[in-house]
């Protein structure tokens, strides 16, 4: 999609540096920094309101950012392989609309309905993937066009008003607490763990990283790049559908704009979380941190009451700051500065 960035030193050959400071990888530093920032923000927000800075705020942030996290996982994988998924918003809507109409307010057949919805969404993603790999469509255009098509189909299918309710069991799940912690947060933890495992520690994830890092080399090495990329788009759409199901269960209904708030934030969360938008670098744990950072920021800015314009400017500014700080060169320099002991 984009020509490679050849001016940065990290891509050129470097002799092995065996000092102790080099054993801490930049990835770990990135992820640690993001979570550190979230913690600092939560603690500092106590200055704004006495109810802030505590566990209940953390709980709300985790709960609300979970939706963003689920769809950002898929987006992160797509970005890892040098792609972009702009159909996320529409597929979330599909997930929500299908939940409401297929479940239709009853618990029967729930175990069939949910996989059906996920499969339907995955199919949309697979079409995206085929367009990008087989037909060489630019991901921006392919996913944008498929998003428009899918949204339009939803609009026609519902006639403007999605009818029906998700199953009561789903709504109960979203309200339930296990050991005092809301179940969606447990879901978030499990999802984050699995996602990190898949993206960073499984052979699937390593293959994706290789494809994203250098598609030609991956191809030469015998990796089925096409199949991997198609699978990744399918996963992204399935994640978006999953997000839609949960959102509809949370609100006990679906609306046609339910996905709109998640498209650009999913990209922002991935980017702020330290993934390179060029592909080939990034961890899901970082993305989760990025999602939490953005949600925390939004909550705090709303509480400050500074007006929508300033709030928007600051959110954009934070993303920009994160981008600037997370460039590898900055990290190399910082690390060299701080840890030069050997």
């Amino acid at each position: 999609m984009m020509s490679s960035d050849t001016g940065t030193p990290e891509r050129s050959a470097r002799t092995e540096d065996t000092r102790t400071s080099q054993r801490i990888s930049p990835t770990v530093v990135t992820v640690a920094t993001i979570y550190g920032l979230v913690l600092v923000m939560i603690l500092a927000s106590r200055l704004i309101s006495p109810s802030f800075g505590g566990l209940s705020q953390l709980e709300t942030i985790l709960y609300l950012s979970s939706f963003l996290v689920f769809c950002a996982f898929g987006q992160g994988l797509v970005i890892l392989v040098r792609g972009l998924d702009l159909s996320v918003a529409s597929v979330i809507t599909v997930g929500g609309v299908l939940s409401a109409s297929l479940m239709d307010g009853s618990n029967t057949g729930l175990l069939h309905v949910i996989p059906t919805i996920l499969l339907a969404c995955a199919l949309i993603g697979i079409v995206n993937g085929i367009g990008v790999t087989v037909f060489n469509m630019p991901p921006f255009i392919m996913t944008m066009a498929s998003g428009i098509i899918v949204y339009s189909l939803c609009l026609g299918f519902t006639g403007g008003t999605p009818r029906g309710f998700p199953a009561p069991a789903m709504n109960d799940f979203m309200q339930a607490r296990v050991f005092g912690i809301p179940s969606p947060i447990w879901l978030l933890v499990v999802f984050a763990a699995l996602g990190t495992l898949v993206q960073s520690f499984s052979s699937f994830g390593r293959k994706l990283t290789a494809v994203g890092n250098n598609p030609e080399a991956a191809y030469v090495a015998g990796l089925p790049a096409r199949r991997l990329i198609i699978a990744v788009y399918g996963i992204s759409a399935a994640c978006a559908g999953f997000t839609g199901i949960l959102l509809a269960s949370y609100a006990n209904g679906a609306t046609l704009r339910m996905g709109d708030d998640y498209l650009l934030p999913s990209i922002a969360a991935v980017v702020v979380g330290g993934s390179s938008i060029l592909g080939g670098r990034g961890t899901f744990l970082g993305t989760v941190g990025g999602a939490m950072l953005l949600t925390t920021l939004s909550t705090i800015l709303s509480a400050l009451g500074i007006g929508q314009g300033w709030k928007t400017i600051m959110e954009g500014g934070v993303i920009l700051l994160a981008l600037i700080l997370l460039r590898n060169q900055v990290f190399d320099g910082l690390r060299a500065l701080v840890m030069r002991k050997d």
């Binding site: 940065t8 921006f140 098509i149 189909l153 938008i277 929508q308 314009g309 928007t312 400017i313 060169q329």
Partner: protein
């Protein structure tokens, strides 16, 4: 067919007019698509050729055409510019709170608009070229900042635009020659000249192969920077003509342009990834998108499913353009 052009990597100078290479590299394809659509439109809508119809269609299309022209500069050298939405909103509201009468006032407002657009473009260019942040992420951030700034300047649609701008700039120079058309032709002329200058050629070279361009002595960073500046200037122009057409300021004026601009550029055949295409193609791509709306209306397709048709046409057009381009390239060139 490919034998005749195999081994020739430079842009052909004296090839016969209709070679596959020429079709792939220029705006030829999109002009044909546009012409076809225009024929369909005239066939189903008899009043399409009236002076007023032509004038209003061109007025309606001009903002998108200018935005697509600006985005093309960035895309040609291999980048992305999402900040189109933020810049257009920002310039649009600034115009609306600064009404100045008469042609002199319009010129003054134009100056302010271009200043803002160029500044935003320079900021983008600096971040991408010199801070080396990837363009899609960087411009996503600047777009959000731009939209926030627009909201601060004007918190709800309002303001006013001078009558000269609203009625003069959207009128016609002579019968059936709308001012909008004159502007579009000027942009085309500008691009024809610019693409033949060193700066223009550098743009294409950087897009085609960054490393090779750097090795051949092109200042890649400056080329990148300039691309964003040009883009910003054109977005400002788009916002200016948008203000003239809508006679009002709107802090969300730029939002529809975000996806439409890239759809227009893609439709025009400019390759995402750089090195192929041009501003003229994007102008026609935008014009085709706006014409498509008219055609769909006249054919009675204006329901919920319009999006399906628009999406399919977009995919088809890009597929077609890339297929033609694929046929034009000698085998072995990816």
């Amino acid at each position: 067919m490919t034998d005749a052009i195999r081994g020739r990597d430079r842009a052909p100078r004296k090839t016969p007019l209709i070679s596959i290479r020429y079709i792939a590299d220029s705006a030829f394809l999109i002009v044909v698509i546009y012409a076809l659509m225009a024929v369909i439109y005239v066939a189903v809508q008899p009043s399409a050729l009236s002076a007023y119809s032509i004038e209003s269609l061109l007025n309606n299309s001009l903002p998108l055409m200018l935005a697509a022209a600006g985005a093309t500069f960035v895309i040609l050298q291999g980048g992305f510019d999402l900040s189109v939405a933020g810049t257009i909103s920002l310039v649009n509201v600034t115009i609306a709170i600064n009404p100045h009468d008469g042609p002199g006032g319009a010129l003054w407002v134009l100056g302010i608009s271009l200043a803002i657009g160029i500044t935003v473009g320079a900021i983008n260019g600096f971040i991408v070229a010199y801070l080396r942040i990837q363009s899609i992420a960087a411009t996503l951030a600047t777009m959000i900042i731009g939209q926030g700034a627009a909201l601060i300047i004007l918190k709800a649609p309002g303001g006013s635009v001078s009558d000269f701008m609203v009625y003069g700039l959207t009128g016609s120079v002579v019968d059936r020659l709308p001012f909008a058309l004159v502007i579009a032709l000027c942009v085309m002329a500008f691009w024809t000249v610019y693409s033949r200058t060193d700066a223009g050629r550098n743009l294409m070279a950087v897009g085609q192969d960054r490393k090779a361009a750097a090795l051949s002595g092109i200042n890649v960073r400056r080329t990148e920077f300039l691309a964003f500046v040009w883009a910003g200037a054109f977005y400002a122009l788009a916002a200016y003509m948008l203000a003239a057409q809508t006679s009002t300021g709107n802090p969300a004026a730029g939002t529809p342009f975000l996806l439409l601009t890239f759809a227009a550029v893609a439709l025009g055949g400019t390759a995402f990834g750089g090195g192929r295409g041009g501003v003229t193609a994007s102008l026609f791509g935008a014009a085709t998108l706006m014409l498509m709306q008219k055609v769909l209306f006249s054919l009675g397709v204006s329901s919920f499913y319009t999006g399906v048709i628009q999406g399919l046409i977009m995919i088809a057009a890009v597929l077609f353009a890339s297929a033609v381009n694929h046929a034009a390239r000698p085998k072995g060139h990816g």
